[in-house]
């Protein structure tokens, strides 16, 4: 291979990075990222230990009170960073333990496939031990005997780093039998996936982990009652788990205070931005940072483009408008605007972007990634795709938009088996609300002949 070819390959190679210099990141304000290096190299065990690594595990093991971990986590109200924002502490308090219950599993959801999301990768590729530490704490709290990092198959680099870090941790006695002389056993394996967005849904993830088709499971029973192999299991997102060590070390109040008076949700958050902006990237910022601040950090829209609409946290969140840039990006505030915080990684659409085309792209994603289990998602979403394609081509028929309204409504929460289809419905509903005229422009034809009013069928 010629010199130039390989150098071009290297220059094009994607590397996960944080756009905050080391100087800006401090242990007391940037619990997730203060240890990361400016050169983007991995923080291996030795360096991690130097930077207070595994202190929280040591503390928790010394205290020997798993219930206290849960209590602290509950008080800190660390809300799930996988997108749903459910309190991790509360989840942990519901895990079945004791009595006849077998010990179960601590599962890290590292399936990161939500369009627009690229945060977990950074944490795994540059600072694997923080995640491992978080998982050990989670295991302690939930009495788990084994852990899995359910990692999407495409994250080859994450797998490499994690596996080496696990080996380091095992050798150093942070994993395995009798961790640090505490009598507590816990180990972790990396389980890599083979594609499909739905594997990120926590119960589909468990099915996938068990080597089955990744159809979600009904809840209840929740994974905490009957999860992997029927044992009590906890599924948490990478970022959620990476928050745990600092919470345990510094306490709930400290964590709450990290967001100042921006919001009621405490802590910091890995926010990011993508789309046609000057400097797409990732930052650890206080929870409740506004979209405007993040867009500013990214240097604004690329080349004087105007912002038309934005997704606050992935493809499954609802569209917000430029006027929403001032809102604190926390779980409840965004929720009130007909959207969701989701993963907190913003995707920006410029003025010239056709919303019909963008919606078509999003629905193609959701239709393609449907697991095929429940009807509205499996058969309803492809219909939305076809209608959107028709509208995009200007071949829509009268009634198509109302049909889209109904399809989106029918894919709402509770109507489908899992939250995948509602994730597809939310951007569609908000796009139809905010940009209806664009969709209407695609309607050029009267309703087809076959669609006459139904004649009532007789009583049977």
């Amino acid at each position: 291979m010629s010199q130039s070819v390989s150098s071009q390959r290297n220059s094009l190679r994607y590397r996960s990075r944080l756009l905050q210099p080391e100087a800006e990141r401090r242990p007391d304000t940037h619990p997730l990222t203060w240890r990361l290096r400016d050169d983007g190299e991995v923080v291996w065990l030795e360096e991690y230990l130097r930077k207070d690594g595994y202190q929280s595990v040591r503390k928790a093991l010394d205290e020997g009170d798993p219930q206290a971990i849960i209590a602290t986590m509950k008080e800190a109200n660390v809300r799930g960073r996988g997108g749903a924002g459910f309190s991790a502490g509360l989840k942990w308090s519901l895990t079945l333990q004791g009595g006849e219950m077998p010990r179960g599993y601590m599962i890290c959801n590292a399936d990161e496939m939500e369009p627009g999301t690229f945060k977990d990768r950074l944490l795994m590729e540059q600072q694997p031990h923080l995640l491992i530490e978080g998982m050990i704490l989670g295991a302690l709290a939930n009495n788990s005997f084994y852990g899995y990092v359910f990692l999407r198959g495409e994250y080859v680099e994450s797998a490499r780093v994690l596996n080496r870090a696990l080996e380091e941790a095992r050798k150093a006695g942070w994993l395995g039998a009798d961790i640090n002389g505490s009598g507590f056993d816990f180990d972790i394996a990396v389980h890599t996936g083979a594609g499909r967005y739905i594997c990120g849904e926590e119960t589909a993830l468990i099915n996938s982990l068990e080597g089955r088709r990744a159809n979600p499971r009904a809840k209840p029973p929740f994974p905490g009652q009957s999860g992997a192999w029927g044992k009590p299991s906890v599924v948490n997102n990478v970022e959620t788990l990476c928050n745990v060590p600092a919470v345990i070390l510094n306490g709930a109040d400290w964590y709450q205070a990290l967001s100042g008076d921006r919001t009621d949700d405490g802590g910091s958050k890995l926010y990011g931005i993508s789309g046609p902006v000057e400097k797409p990237g990732l930052w650890e910022l206080p929870m409740g940072t506004t979209g405007g601040e993040i867009l500013d950090r990214a240097g604004g829209m690329r080349g004087n483009r105007q912002l038309k609409a934005w997704l606050p946290g992935g493809a499954s969140t609802g569209f917000l408008l430029p006027e929403h840039l001032d809102l604190p990006l926390d779980f409840d505030t965004v929720g009130k605007e007909g959207s969701r915080l989701g993963t907190g990684l913003l995707a920006m659409a410029p003025q010239e972007q056709s919303m019909v085309a963008l919606m078509r792209n999003l629905e193609e994603f959701f239709a393609r990634e449907s697991c095929g289990w429940c009807t509205p998602c499996r058969d309803g979403l492809p219909w939305t795709v076809k209608l959107l394609r028709a509208l995009e081509l200007g071949q829509g028929e009268t009634g198509d938009i109302e049909l889209l309204d109904k399809l989106a409504a029918d894919c709402g929460p509770g109507l489908t088996f899992c939250a995948h289809a509602p994730g597809a419905a939310m951007p569609l509903q908000t796009a139809l609300k905010h940009f209806r005229h664009e969709f209407e422009q695609g309607v050029s034809k009267p309703r087809g002949k076959a669609h006459q009013d139904p004649i009532p069928v007789g009583e049977v």
């Binding site: 499971r217 449907s370 058969d379 028929e397």
Partner: protein, 905 residues
């Protein structure tokens, strides 16, 4: 019990149900697809949405899936809510997007759940204007046709086939809107319960291929309540006829016996009824080699009567595949002292022992449904799926029910199927199988012990001894077997309701006595257990109750010249005894009279062959392995479409002969009379009169219709023969009419339902309308009457019978098999296609000794070539041969295998 409020009305329902089941049980209609009463809920199709309100004050409510919502006390829902209706309409519309709308050419049409639900939701206009997806179909074997375009992705097929029935070759493939249900590669579906897919699939993806060539819509078929004649399980069937042929067999719901499912032998084995070579007229032949001559009924009766009249002594050989009525009528003709039940002596001894054990071993015989709630099972010397088809499915459910027990401990309701499955994983209730070959239940068994008959018996005795030290110990067990006995005893004792399963397949009284001892021991230790004993044929239990001499006796009497005339009822003697013995007996018989509906080797030796009715053209009573007397009814009158035929119930023929014999004028007999006579003559059978209502039974003053009310073409069916339409046949024997006139509704509770139909419910799901609660019992009571009742106490233990193992050479170990192992169904083409190639299983030692290896072929006798299968743990000294392969070969007989002449095969 819970009170729920539906559309403003209050109802009391079973609180353990989900809302869908509760509402359907109330007779309310909610459309659904993925839910199935036997398989629970998974919430996939989203068709069953209803509006649920939090409380009285909630006026907004929320849509929920009724199948996934518990019927908790004070639940308030609306089925008729506008939003719920609109959502349900959307769901059907989505399901129909890719559906081919090919109802006119679809074999599901007319009994299609998808059609019913589409009509129920009011969907009748297509708005989707884009291209449909199309698929390829697979060849799935002789039973099932595959048309994937019709699939609505409800996942029922794989849930039944894999989760319920334990299959591993059918699956769901692909994802998104491209989910394909089929075999992992094209080929024959392996599960012996695959046929149920035709009923489980709510549309026409899996249809009955045996029906296909001579297809008739459900509404154009004539039905009668049937009892499967293909094994001792006694599944209730709904055979459908058109133009004098049985066109298909469907399941007839029975809350205790077969529920919603049949095995494939029962469903696809009916072809013998339609064979063109069936005797349809009485025949006479001078001697075995002369050509048969057909003649008329009166002639036949006269000439046979004459022969009987001049006989020194007439011996009658009955049959465990014929009804009680026919057997009784034969006994009445020849006299008790001259009656044999047609069963070989050892089998008969086993049957008698089984009846005895069911009375005196201290444990009751559970119904198949009850079997499913036993939490530990020991199978001694049986391969239940092969020997009793549907029973194997019940035993599988018993093992799987561990999931429900586990679920209960963390509050997962019984209907939450996927949750229970993922909770339990591969944890099953303990199931132990002592059987030499692999069985279809091995995958859910804790252990299978590959033993020969004597060792199986010893294991059983040892188990009994472990449970109750007062039970005699077995001698000569290996340490390994002792350990096994210990483990089994422990599991049975830890169970709430242990179950012992055994039967006659090995023709070993020792095995049965051992099973009896285990039952007695459990009973003495105050266990609420059960004892299931598998018999070979549809009426084996009944014949053993009826009594009579064994077949050996009859053949001996004839061979010794102690009788000169023989009457054989629906029995091929060559299947039961070695040919020399039968030949020897027949050689000394002056006149041999055979009644049968098949041309068997025995029929070929008859001087008089009387064209007997099969189950489809006759009524009668069978006693199944639970001791349940069940009535089957004539589906059609063979004379209606083929006026020239003279097919009659054997009991009618025999009665006519009896009457003639007495020199009386042949007054006809009716079913009611023959039942009464049989019950009179056999006090143990007295209960049989109550097995079904008599011929005078009416509902609202009406007979019961055999035909659906949309039955078409009656006036033209025979137009090619005669332009004037004959009067429909009259049925003197039952309350059923050969007509659509008569009662066919579901409002009036009834036991005897020829076909299930209710307005808006054309598919087999219509059974929901006939049951007290969905998946429960028929509102009129589940049909049949138990004739065998356990006697209080346990009787006394039997002493272990020393085994006769260890002789040199090979002995036949005949392995029951579902396809090909039963004489009549083996005459049905699809069953023949599904029957495996002749083979013999040998232990590695024996194979070595004989210098043959797996894959070789060997010869048994002159004409039979067998493929050699080697099984490492197979008991040495035994040659495993499939049942039905070598006529007249008896269990345990010595055999010699030799290499084919002419060098290498």
């Amino acid at each position: 019990m819970a009170t729920i409020h539906v559309d403003g009305q209050s109802y009391t329902v079973n609180g353990a149900h989900n809302l869908l089941q509760a509402c359907l049980s109330l007779g309310l209609d909610i459309p659904y697809f993925c839910w199935h009463p036997a398989m629970g809920s998974v919430g996939a199709c989203r068709q069953c949405a209803v509006k649920q309100y939090k409380n009285k004050d909630d006026d907004k409510g929320m849509l929920v899936m009724s199948c996934m919502t518990p019927a908790a006390d004070q639940t308030r829902i609306d089925i008729n809510d506008e939003e719920a209706k609109a959502f349900r309409a959307s769901v059907v519309e989505w399901l129909m997007i890719n559906h081919p709308h090919d109802c006119p050419v679809c074999e599901e049409g007319g009994h299609c759940h998808l059609q019913d639900m589409t009509v129920m939701t009011g969907h009748d206009r297509r708005r989707y204007r884009f291209r449909k997806r199309t698929r390829r179909n697979q060849y799935l074997g002789p039973f099932i046709a595959h048309e994937m375009n019709r699939c609505i992705t409800c996942y029922r097929c794989v849930r039944f086939y894999n989760d319920y029935a334990g299959g591993t070759d059918l699956g769901a493939f692909g994802a998104k809107d491209n989910v394909y249900f089929g075999r992992y590669e094209e080929g024959v579906l392996e599960s012996p319960f695959a046929g149920n897919l035709t009923e489980v699939c709510p549309t026409g993806v899996f249809t009955d291929q045996s029906h296909s060539e001579r297809y008739t819509r459900k509404w154009d078929l004539q039905f009668a309540p049937g009892i499967c004649h293909q094994c001792s399980m006694g599944c209730n069937t709904s055979p459908g006829e058109r133009y004098g042929e049985i066109r298909r067999i469907e399941n007839r719901y029975h809350g205790e016996v077969n529920g919603y499912f049949l095995c494939d032998r029962g469903r696809f084995g009916y072809g013998y009824v339609n064979r063109s070579d069936r005797p349809r007229l009485p025949e006479w032949r001078e001697s075995p080699d002369s050509e048969p001559v057909s003649f008329d009924v009166d002639d036949a009766l006269a000439r046979i009567s004459d022969a009987l009249h001049h006989a020194r002594r007439v011996i009658g050989i009955g049959s465990p595949r014929a009804s009680l009525e026919s057997n009784h009528q034969l006994e009445a003709l020849v006299g008790k002292d001259n009656f044999s039940n047609g069963i070989e002596a050892r089998e008969q001894a086993c049957l008698a022992l089984m009846n005895n054990l069911q009375r005196h071993a201290g444990l009751p015989a559970p119904t198949p449904r009850e079997i499913e709630s036993h939490d530990a099972v020991l199978v001694l010397g049986e391969d239940p799926v092969q020997s009793a088809g549907r029973l194997g499915l019940s035993l599988r459910q018993a093992a799987l029910a561990r999931a429900e027990a586990l679920g209960e401990s963390i509050g997962i309701p019984q209907w939450n199927a996927e949750a229970l499955k993922t909770l339990a994983q591969d944890r099953y209730h303990p199931l132990f199988i002592a059987w030499p070959a692999s069985t279809d239940l091995d995958d859910v068994a804790e252990a299978r012990y590959p033993m020969g008959p004597a060792q199986i018996a010893r294991l059983g005795f040892a188990v009994a001894h472990r449970i109750d030290p007062a039970a005699p110990a077995a001698e000569g067990l290996s340490a390994e077997d002792e350990q096994a006995a210990g483990r089994i005893a422990e599991a049975l004792m830890n169970a709430e309701r242990p179950l012992v399963v055994s039967g006659g397949s090995l023709a070993s009284e020792a095995v049965l006595e051992a099973a009896g001892n285990v039952a007695r021991a459990l009973s003495r230790r105050a266990k609420r257990g059960g004892l299931v004993l598998i018999r070979r044929e549809a009426n084996s239990t009944g014949l053993a109750l009826m009594g009579g001499q064994p077949l050996d006796w009859a053949l001996d009497e004839l061979a010794q010249g102690n009788a000169d005339v023989l009457v054989v009822l629906e029995n091929d003697l060559y299947q039961r005894m070695p040919a020399q013995r039968v030949d020897a007996a027949l050689a000394r018989t002056d006149t041999c009279i055979v009644l049968d509906h098949q041309r068997t080797p025995t029929a070929a030796r008859a001087n008089f062959l009387l064209s007997a009715a099969s189950f489809a053209e006759s009524d009668g009573t069978l006693v199944n392995l639970e001791g349940r007397a069940q009535r089957f009814f004539q589906v059609y009158d063979p004379v209606y479409m083929r006026p020239e035929t003279r097919i009659h119930e054997s009991w009618r023929w025999l009665h006519a002969l009896t009457v003639n014999q007495r020199g009386e004028k042949a007054g006809d007999i009716t079913l009611d009379t023959v039942i009464a006579a049989c019950a009179d003559a056999h006090p143990v059978l007295a209960g049989m009169t109550g097995a079904a209502p008599g011929s005078h039974y009416r509902i609202d003053g009406l007979r019961l219709a055999r035909e659906p009310h949309r039955y078409s073409g009656r006036t033209s069916m025979r137009a090619n023969q005669d332009v004037s339409e004959p009067r429909v046949p009259q049925d003197p024997d039952s309350a059923f009419a050969y007509s659509m006139e008569g009662y066919s509704g579901y409002h009036e509770p009834r036991q005897q339902v020829p076909f299930a139909w209710a307005p808006g419910w054309n598919s087999p799901q219509a059974w929901n309308k006939f049951t007290d609660e969905v998946g429960g019992h028929l509102r009129g009571g589940d049909p049949g009457v138990r004739l065998i009742h356990p006697v209080p106490g346990q009787g006394s233990y039997s002493q272990p019978i020393p085994g006769a193992e260890g002789t040199d050479g090979l002995r036949a170990l005949i392995l029951p098999r579902l396809f090909g192992g039963e004489e009549t169904s083996a005459r049905a083409t699809p069953i023949q296609q599904r029957t495996e190639a002749p083979s013999v299983i040998l232990s590695t030692d024996d194979a070595h000794r004989l210098e043959i290896k797996a894959g070789d072929t060997v010869m048994l006798g002159e004409g039979l070539t067998l493929l050699v299968l080697e099984q490492a743990d197979w008991p040495t000294g035994w040659a495993g041969l499939p049942a039905g392969l070598v006529a007249g070969l008896l269990q345990g007989e010595s055999i010699t295998l030799h290499k084919p002449v002419g060098g290498e095969p």
